[in-house]
Subunit: 339 residues, 2 copies
Amino acid sequence: MRFSHSEHVSRLAGGWLLAVCLCLAAHTAIAAADLLPSWADGASKRAIIAFVEQVADPQSPGFVAADERVAVFDNDGTLWSEKPAYFQLLFAIDRVRALAPQHPEWKTTQPFKAVLDNDLDALAESGEHGLLELVMASHAGMTTTEFEQIVQSWLSTARHPRFKRPYTALVYQPMLELLEYLRANGFKTFIVSGGGIEFMRPWVEEVYGIPPEQVIGSSIKVKYELRDGEPVLVRLPEIDFIDDKAGKPVGIHKFIGRRPIAAFGNSDGDLQMLQWATAGAGPRLGMIIHHTDAEREWAYDRKSHVGKLDKALDESADKGWVVVDMQRDWKTIYPAQSE
Amino acid sequence: MRFSHSEHVSRLAGGWLLAVCLCLAAHTAIAAADLLPSWADGASKRAIIAFVEQVADPQSPGFVAADERVAVFDNDGTLWSEKPAYFQLLFAIDRVRALAPQHPEWKTTQPFKAVLDNDLDALAESGEHGLLELVMASHAGMTTTEFEQIVQSWLSTARHPRFKRPYTALVYQPMLELLEYLRANGFKTFIVSGGGIEFMRPWVEEVYGIPPEQVIGSSIKVKYELRDGEPVLVRLPEIDFIDDKAGKPVGIHKFIGRRPIAAFGNSDGDLQMLQWATAGAGPRLGMIIHHTDAEREWAYDRKSHVGKLDKALDESADKGWVVVDMQRDWKTIYPAQSE
């Protein structure tokens, strides 16, 4: 096969341009790779970098103005572990035990008896209603300032049963890097969690670099009062908002007022948030953390009570959501132990 | 009276230091004055500058870390006018008129009849319940995206009955400067309004420089739905949250999760927000815009239905809140007409 002179020149020029482009792309990818050292080279990491470079580059057709670069993260199972049970439930259990001397009636009343007897089967049997009672007994009745101190104090002393480390040490190192990488590229990062908003706010700024005003979660009602002329906010034993499943896009809309362009979750509780974020126009990134590492963390999905991942996994292929294989994609799970 | 040599030197040195300090202070004040050109020199402007310089200066004993520099602003009557009625009510009235052809029953049903007959007395007689019906008929039943377009479209065509300008032109120039001045000094500025959060979000970023995620307001419930596979949020005719009076500190806590160090309001609806913000430790600024200028804007306080200022005015002296006399303290009210 012969080429005309002009075809030949054009092919040569094309080859040169391609080489330059590949070189530039490789260069940019290396720069980004340094910001994500705990991510193994592979499809997940490449998808993150490709998305971020596309939206942050003013020359790219997928460029998104900095104001609109909103990324939302589930917390339990996405930013920190959630086994053997949600850490907030472990907090509630410890709290009920601490308060038990003031509540002799708890020795004979469920779900408190189950907690005091360390009978997790009986606790599970008390169902959603029992858990709600537990939450109200442990989370309501004090001022917001008092509750914040209770959470801080628990976090500073409680240790995880398997890893014997503080709960705030069981956050995912690759996700900490991802949060930083997004912020370095002009993103505003939000937590959108089914967990209690006031259980998270006291520590997420220090641990994740996410300020309290960028935390969305479930909440109980609070009431404004003057006590001896001093204003306080008192926590009431009444649900205000459940930030889970279809509640997540509602919470996002209520608190942020615009649609995120990236969403990160790990369970069916995040399905609607993923749908909502990725259905908008322009480049979108939906990502699911798949717990596949029984050795370094836990392995669970469709059949797990906590963090059940079933429908969202089915929908991921159709929607183009990236499924992170924790075992394969993460070189490390938790930050190095410093204490 | 005679001085020893050392006393003399020390007094001279002291005098020199004082002169340097005054000069520096004057210099700083001038720099700040340039950022607040619409504020007349006087106690209100001095109080703002003294507060900001104190909290933003790392050398000052009153220094506040940038993260904690949170300032909250009421909207109606504090950032823009609220007469002859809340602009959002005028929007609801226009909306009911626009929808009337599809609702023949409104011709004979209150409060809609009152709106269609332009009978504001009858509308007032329909009371809170009537207003609520009006809001639900005009604000609910569509998706959040549709509602945003309705608001944008109204704002682009509606004109204020007295000033014949778009409503978004009736914002206070001195407050625009104050917002900028605070942000230039590391503050994060939030709106905390009794008005509807989704009535404000479409335009406040452009007009005030406040992004949607920093807007707190009253809201109705929304519901997540898939329509032909496309996710939408539908506005329901049901109150979610009233961000007024004791609801303001509750809203601040819910959305921001930390206590502001500065609060700006104009009515008794802002009393609890002012109490909450100014009761914290360290330097605090509480400020009330007093509507005293019937000629350039409106004059009203204790006896006004809209923007009633009575208890908060009484409490201002005791609490050290600065009362801005609009007539005396503001050189201009609205931004210069550009259209």
